[in-house]
Amino acid sequence: MERTEAIVLRTTDWSESSRIVTLWTRELGKVRALAKGGRRLKSMFDSALDLLTVCGIVLLRKSSGSLDLLTEAQVSRRFPRLRDDLGALYAGYYVAELLADWTQEYDPHPGLYDEAVATLAELGHESGLRVMRFEMVFLEELGYRPALERCAGCQGPLNEQRLAFGATTGGVLCVACQGRQREHRPLSVEAWQLLQALRGSGDEWRRTWASAVRNEVRQHLGGYVTTLRGRPPRLLPYLGG
């Protein structure tokens, strides 16, 4: 029996009175569990197991082969902005998609859990920037940190006058490597600064950035995520800078 807090990432009807939910938990990482209805449990599950809701759950771990059982779910937090701002909602869906599709079951990342909750809470205000910050923390946490300070190809120094981002190489490329790597796109100095701010530990990324710069970084991050995954995330076309 495990008690933890979780974000609802996905729910699929299993039968008339039960469904399978994918949860992102703080202590256990991603969990897929069967929420069996029945009259008493149905209404509790109905209101708690809504997408992008944070709930306190009780989980009955099963031995290998069968799905874990959800025995309790109580809403602990909802994010009202997701219900009146379409951009915020799609950014929230994107967070759910990344967590559901990229993580392994029972591989906990408490820091990423906290970042996901903080992101959902702040969406609705500069949603595009907020979700890019989440993406950067997410990539770092899962070991896909892009190279930004030195060339991703040769570790050499970068020339600010001629920067480029190589999605397959995994970061910013020096002029010599740009000649060798066929796949790269030009990167403006401002976008390079925003990428670094998004990865930094401080709040530098929260300052005002021109929309052209945000859109450029959106393109680079989208390309990088698509390359890593081998296909574009479903929600990517819905995101703004």
Partner: protein, 200 residues
């Protein structure tokens, strides 16, 4: 049963077992009940099953299932055709009709926007709704999608499409518990939610 060709009986159990609320035990019980029932009764059931798929199709106006070109609601001259209530599923129409407090027409989306599952506007009957509103006859569109994250998201999306057309867009009042499903709400709750709808 070992001596019988297993195919036919097993197939019926298998098909019955796919129905909601029917487990393996019930499927077996129903199968044996049907085996012993009079031929005419079983044929009549088979015919009724066939008919719902062969004769029922979406109403040309509101997409609610009907055996006519237009459903009985759209064909009723007493209904207020300046008012359209948008719902996810045909079951929601039944629930709202049962509440007895709504006199307008409906529009059945046949689902909700669910980008995570790849369900976008093209998979729903949104084009048909827009065409209805563009005729200019409709003055108010009431969003009665489920009060879930995806249901609210669908309403929000529709209101961004409908806003520029100059039609009044309202949402059922928050009497319904968040995350709940319309079809399970009781009639009084639905009547109150309709009464207290707010402009989006």
């Amino acid at each position: 049963m070992e001596t019988e060709p297993l195919g036919v009986i097993a197939r019926l159990m298998h098909e019955l077992g796919k129905l909601p609320g029917i487990g393996p035990k019930s499927a077996e019980r129903l199968t044996h009940h049907l085996l012993q029932a009079p031929k005419q009764q079983v044929f009549s059931l088979a015919e009724a099953l066939r008919a719902i798929k062969e004769q029922i199709h979406p109403c040309e106006v509101c997409c609610h299932p009907t055996e006519h070109v237009r459903c009985t609601i759209c064909a009723d001259p007493q209904r207020d055709d300046s008012l359209v209530c948008v719902v996810e599923q045909p079951r929601d129409v039944i629930a709202l009709e049962r509440s007895g407090s709504y006199r307008g027409l409906y529009h059945v989306l046949h689902g909700r926007l669910s980008p995570l599952d790849g369900i976008g506007p093209e998979q729903l009957t949104i084009d048909r709704l827009m065409a209805r509103v563009r005729t200019g006859r409709i003055q108010e569109v009431i969003m009665a999608t489920n009060p879930t994250t995806e249901g609210d998201g669908t309403s929000l999306y529709l209101s961004t499409l409908l806003g520029p057309l100059g039609v009044k867009v309202t949402r059922l009042a928050r009497g319904l518990p968040t995350g709940s499903v319309l079809e399970f709400a009781n009639s009084q709750m639905l009547a109150d939610a309709l009464e207290g709808r707010r402009v989006l």
